[in-house]
């Protein structure tokens, strides 16, 4: 019973259920999260079991959803908000950046903002415009927010538990194309800290750092590289704010090479920050510049082109080859 094999979507569903059971102040709110169970069915069955007062179908207005969640948090609730798709978050961006992120500081610590904003993100599902974006850097850039993304079902369960328990606002990016990937969930485990990176695969020649949907790609790349006699370490960052630079540093001090992989455009992205910090921290350990693999500085392309836009195994290995060639 303790260990179940669940898809990521179901692991999040179970985590929300646990939170709703354990804390009467937890609310789930968003567009279509009630009867329908969300467009990805992540909240499936929750309204039936916890009622309309706790699993709330909201008007179709993202700023309103986040703005009222802030008000509910001021009243002592712990809202878990769903934004239906990555590209739909921007009407709420003002509330998130100017209100949610700063309120604790503006009140000199007298009030807290325990709000979780769930955002299914990333491409690879053949969706139409605005349904495939990776805007995590736009949130990680904002002080006052924490930003995380699980890559597997076990993390999805536990990171959601920890995000809901956090007294800071957490932007919880869910890798939508991995929603149906199954993994082990141990509800009796003692989870590691929310913002710590985890070595997903050990290796000695080069470190691949990734999070969310790209961890799987990196693991596949490491497996392919092994056949060529290259030993790649895969670091699952899990958190984009804060970033566990200590873990990246420790890995790079062993492997001396780093490639950061994400779907989001590389320009001013998570990888850029990691490259800068690791260059500062590991200047004398590095055998090659930190390389980045990610999206381009262009609007997310139509679905028929996304396979080439998204970092895949070959693009990751191409960067690995370039790094190893130094």
């Amino acid at each position: 019973m303790a260990v179940q094999k669940l898809p990521i979507a179901k692991a999040i569903n179970e985590s929300l259920r646990t939170a709703l059971e354990n804390d009467p102040k937890v609310l789930v709110m968003g567009e279509d999260v009630g009867k329908l169970g969300g467009v990805f069915r992540v909240t499936d069955g929750l309204q039936k079991d916890f009622g309309e007062e706790r699993v709330i179908d909201t008007p179709l207005a993202e700023s309103g959803i986040v703005g009222t969640a802030i008000g509910l948090a001021l009243r002592g609730y712990r809202p878990v908000v769903e934004i239906q798709f990555d590209g739909f978050v921007f009407p709420a961006y003002d509330q998130i950046v100017t209100q949610l992120a700063k309120m604790h500081a503006r009140a000199l610590g007298k009030i807290k903002m325990p709000v979780v904003i769930r955002i299914p993100y990333g491409g690879g599902i053949g969706a139409v415009e605005h349904h495939s974006e990776s805007p995590e850097a736009l949130f990680a850039h904002v002080a006052g927010l924490k930003v995380v993304s699980p890559s597997n079902a076990g993390d999805a369960y536990w990171m959601m538990q920890q995000a809901i328990q956090s007294d800071d606002p957490v932007i919880f990016f869910e890798p939508k194309r991995r929603y149906w990937d199954k993994g082990e969930v141990d509800k009796e485990a003692i989870p590691g800290p929310l913002h710590k990176a985890v070595v997903a695969r050990e290796g000695s020649d080069l470190t691949l750092a990734a999070y969310g949907p790209m961890v799987k790609v990196c693991l596949e790349a490491a497996a392919a590289a092994e056949e060529e006699g290259k030993s790649l370490e895969v670091l699952d960052l899990r958190s984009m704010s804060p970033i566990d630079f200590d873990a990246v540093q420790a890995s790079v001090e062993r492997t001396r090479r780093l490639v950061v992989v994400h779907e989001a455009p590389v320009f001013l992205g998570t990888g850029a920050e990691i490259a800068a910090r690791i260059t500062e921290r590991c200047f004398y350990h590095l055998e090659a510049p930190v390389l980045r693999v990610g999206g381009y500085h262009a609007p997310y392309p139509p679905a028929r082109l996304e396979e080439e836009y998204l970092p895949g195994l070959d693009r990751v290995l191409d960067a690995v080859d370039r790094s190893l060639a130094y």
Partner: protein, 396 residues
Amino acid sequence: MTVESTAARKPRRSSTGGAKRAGAKKAAPQKSTEPELVQLLTPEGKRVENAQYESYVADITPQELRGLYRDMVLTRRFDAEATSLQRQGELGLWASLLGQEAAQIGSGRATRDDDYVFPTYREHGVAWCRGVDPTNLLGMFRGVNNGGWDPNSNNFHLYTIVIGAQTLHAAGYAMGVAKDGADSAVIAYFGDGASSQGDVAESFTFSAVYNAPVVFFCQNNQWAISEPTERQTRVPLYQRAQGYGFPGVRVDGNDVLAVLAVTKWALERARAGEGPALIEAFTYRMGAHTTSDDPSKYRNDDERVAWEAKDPILRLRAYLESEGHADEGFFAELDEESEALGKRVREVVRAMPDPDLMAIFEHAYADGHALVDEERAQFAAYQASFADAPEGGEGK
């Protein structure tokens, strides 16, 4: 409520004969002559009856009336002191409430302790009613903090600068009140400019569909910095409520008694589970938008002069005097209290210390953040590196 468009269609400007565009334009800021609004005290201080709202102030005592007068006078005095402090460089900026005392004191005094208030950045009079020490409001304008009071001490939320954002917080808070089964109400302040913001529209929608106990209190002070209300709306603002399915009412915002009555009505129905209401307090921003603003660039002084005749403090004084509710001693005592308040505010502000340097990093997060810890340590080490520097260098 009667729609006023019929009145607005009358050719009022025909007497100016060759009025032409320029003349018409000049007359435009006069707004819709006298809009239909709830009034209990005329500008001359005569008590008039209003069948619908009379009962909410029917039992008001002379002492309470003097209290409202005192609130308005002290608030105006505080506001004037803050403006002076800005002029003297003690504050970086000040947003004066001059002219809006009745709208703020009347509505603020209608609230109960357990109600919750979401202000803009100009609700100094409401803060006063909630028991927030006025000097607390000045920290952000002096630049020693970005808010600085505990919202839960007086159920008075932090000032909100991004226009209209707080109305959603109020709607959400009110949803929470309803979930708790409490009989408190919430009041959200905003202005005529904010009425154009999407957040205000969304807050109307959310509170309407969840029947949240929130009162939307719009101080229509006729100007959003340089833009007249005509640039924000084609219908009287209170009529917007109708489209959302809750009542809207326009009240004479310079009549403290009428504002008190109408706000009590709205708060009571919210507490009774009857949902939101919109109050448009028709008033006038007598001063500049803030101390950085210059109204002579965009509005006619005649307009301000016309509104001076509707001053909220003078009209209540006229009423108090004509009814014999206040004697010379009361006014003299209040003058003294007023000067003492000004003096205290000045002293407290001038003694406000600059925050400690490390306050930059304080409260960025409730549960801490590795990057903040790292940068705090770096910043501290950098500052410490100047410890042995000789006096008279670049630093102070």
